[in-house]
Structure formats: C-alpha cells, structure tokens
C-alpha cells in the first residue's frame, strides 16, 4: 500500500534502488548536490523521473542515503588501526588502505569532498560526532606510541589530516594529477611508493 520500505524488498525494488544510488553517486560526485538534477540521475539509472521518485521521495533523500551508505566504508580503514599492532606497520597499513580507497572509489571520495567543500551542511553532525570521536580515539593511541618512543613525536591529529589530504588528493584532483604528470604514468602506483617513503621517514623516531 505505502511506498517501498527497507524491509522485505522485492527483486525489482532491489534492482532499481541500487541503480538509482549508483546513478546518484555518478551524478552527485561529478556535479555536487546543487549541480545535480533528477533528470540526469533518472537517465543514468535508466528510469523515468516519476518512477525514480517512486523509490525515493526526493532528491535530498537520494543524496542522504548515499552519504550515509558510504560513510562507514570511508571510515573503516582508520577504525582498523590496531592499538596492539606494530605502530609503524599500523600507520603504513592505514595509508595504504586509504590510498586504495581513493583508487577504487574515487566517486565516493569526490562525493564527500563536494559536501565538505560546501560547508558540510548535511554531514556536520557526523563530523562533529562519530568522526571526531574516532579521531580522538586513534589520536590517543598514536600519542601513546609516540611517548613510548616507537614512532616520532608530532601532532597526531595533524598526522591524520596529512594522511587524508595526500591520499584523497589523488582521487579528488585526479584530472589535475594526470594532466600534470602527462601520459605514461600510473598516478596511484607512484603515489603508493612516494607516500610509503614519506611516512616511513616521517614516523621514524
């Protein structure tokens, strides 16, 4: 009777919802929220606009569903940093995983970049809440490792910022990176060994 619910989805609901989110990711990540249009998303999803609005009540709902859906994936690598592991190995693994995310999910990276660039109007609660707590938790671990002399002493939060900045740069500014490098380069492979070198040197006590 009512609009499709999350529970007990039919095959068609499953397929079309997925197609809409996939199309929305394409369009929102490339144009930002305001720049994207329902017509673009509908066409990319292979649906008519009214049919698209049969599955999601509004443009806003699609966008919010995308942000929510991708946030956990995006934070996972930092969550995975193990307080019991070897400090250098843990940080390097984080850098590597974050760069892999940039390489394999550049649209998701640009989706967040667009949102934050425009003041994070819809993501601010998550940033001030879950993200801030996660950074504080991992900062405490980094600080402990530093005071134990296992990695060099520095601001742990700005270390995390540096990892974010440099890995996401290769996703968000991909066209600039490729244009400046010119043909015959593999940006992500080169970035991998460059960042390996950079952080290994930086973290050495």
């Amino acid at each position: 009777m009512t609009k499709p619910q999350a529970k007990t989805k039919t095959k068609i609901q499953e397929r079309n919802s997925r197609a809409i989110l996939e199309a929305g990711l394409d369009v929102f990540s490339a144009q930002g929220f305001r720049g994207a249009t329902l017509d673009q998303i509908a066409e990319a999803a292979g649906l008519s606009k009214p049919n698209l609005l049969y599955y999601f009540p509004s443009k806003d709902a699609i966008y919010l569903a995308l942000l929510e859906q991708q946030l956990q994936t995006w934070l996972y690598p930092l969550r995975a940093m193990d307080p019991l592991g070897d400090p250098l190995a843990e940080v390097m693994a984080y850098v590597r995983r974050k760069l892999e995310l940039s390489r394999d999910f550049p649209r998701e990276s640009r989706l967040f970049a667009n949102e934050i660039l425009q003041g994070a109007p819809r993501l601010m609660p998550e940033i001030e809440g879950a993200l801030k707590r996660l950074v504080e938790e991992k900062s405490a671990i980094l600080t402990r490792w530093m005071s134990e002399g296992r990695i060099a002493r520095m601001s742990p939060v700005h270390l995390i910022f540096a990892i974010w900045a440099m890995t996401q740069h290769y996703a968000d500014f991909d066209v600039q990176v490729r244009a400046v490098l010119g043909p015959g380069h593999d940006p992500f492979a080169e970035a991998g060994s460059f960042l390996e070198q950079l952080f290994r040197k930086l973290l050495a006590p």
Copy 2:
C-alpha cells in the same frame, strides 16, 4: 555605445565590476559553478540582475574572469622558488607561502577545488599548459638539488603534489578540520609547525 571595455573604465565601472567579482567569488566558491545563481551574486554585489548583466555578458563570463584573475596569484609561490637559493630554505618557503595563501584566500582555494573536482572543464587548458610547464621546470630544479645530495631523493612531482594537498586541505576542508579539532585551536598555526616538521624531516638527505 558598446558594453564597458577593460580600457578607460569609469569610476562606477571600476566599483561595480569589483563588487561583482567579489560577490561572485563568495558565491562560486561556496556553491560551485552550477550551484551558484545570478540572483545570489547580484544580491551579494548589491546590484539588480539586469544591471549585473550590464557589466558581464553572462554567468560564464564572471566565472571565467575569476578563474583567470586568481590563477596567477595562486601559482606565484611556486614560481618564486629560486634555483639559486638554498634548497631546503626554498622548499620550506614555498610550503609556508602556500599555507599562507590557504589561510588568507580560502575562497580562491575552494574556487579552484570546485573546478578541478568537477573535472576542470574550463581550466584544463591552463593545467595542461602553464601549470604543467611550471611543474616540469621546478621539478628539474628539485631533481638537480637531489642529485647534488642537497635534499633527499624522491619524486619531485609527487613532492609538489604533497605540498599542494596538505596546504590546500586546510582551506578546502576548513569546516572538517575545525570540527574535528574542536574549539581552542588555531588550525593554521598548528599546521604551520606540523608541516615545517614534516617537510624538514622528509627533505633531509
């Protein structure tokens, strides 16, 4: 008889063109090209929309004028890197100047970030031309310094990318940086000493 030309501007032309570009910078940097509207720009400039279009023929023209106007300022710090100077001091000075640009001109930084995020449709010629040549020129200098053993050996282009990524991060993702740091922090001051430490250690031969 014709529309106002660049040459022999009247006082009013001077004042209104400036107000439009200032307002356009505000709106375009906050909303991106597609998200910005002429009404928003006109209101921010204190002009009516038809009057705004008396000074610039189109939305596109305002946007292009802004990109062009700011590009030189944005590239200047890299241009200023002196091949005859002390390698470490020159690179550190570049980092410092780039961070100052992020601090003092965050709107300009976000304007470019928005443009490149969306595939640099209007800036690609400049990126492939002037910017690429500039990076190649400075990369050659960095490479020479490295082979002379004056700074550590690494990919010079990715070193430049790292400087861009980390300094612009503090402008483009300002709201995230402040939200995660919480109150009682001066992001740019902290970033200054963090980046000083990072690059000094990285560049040490």
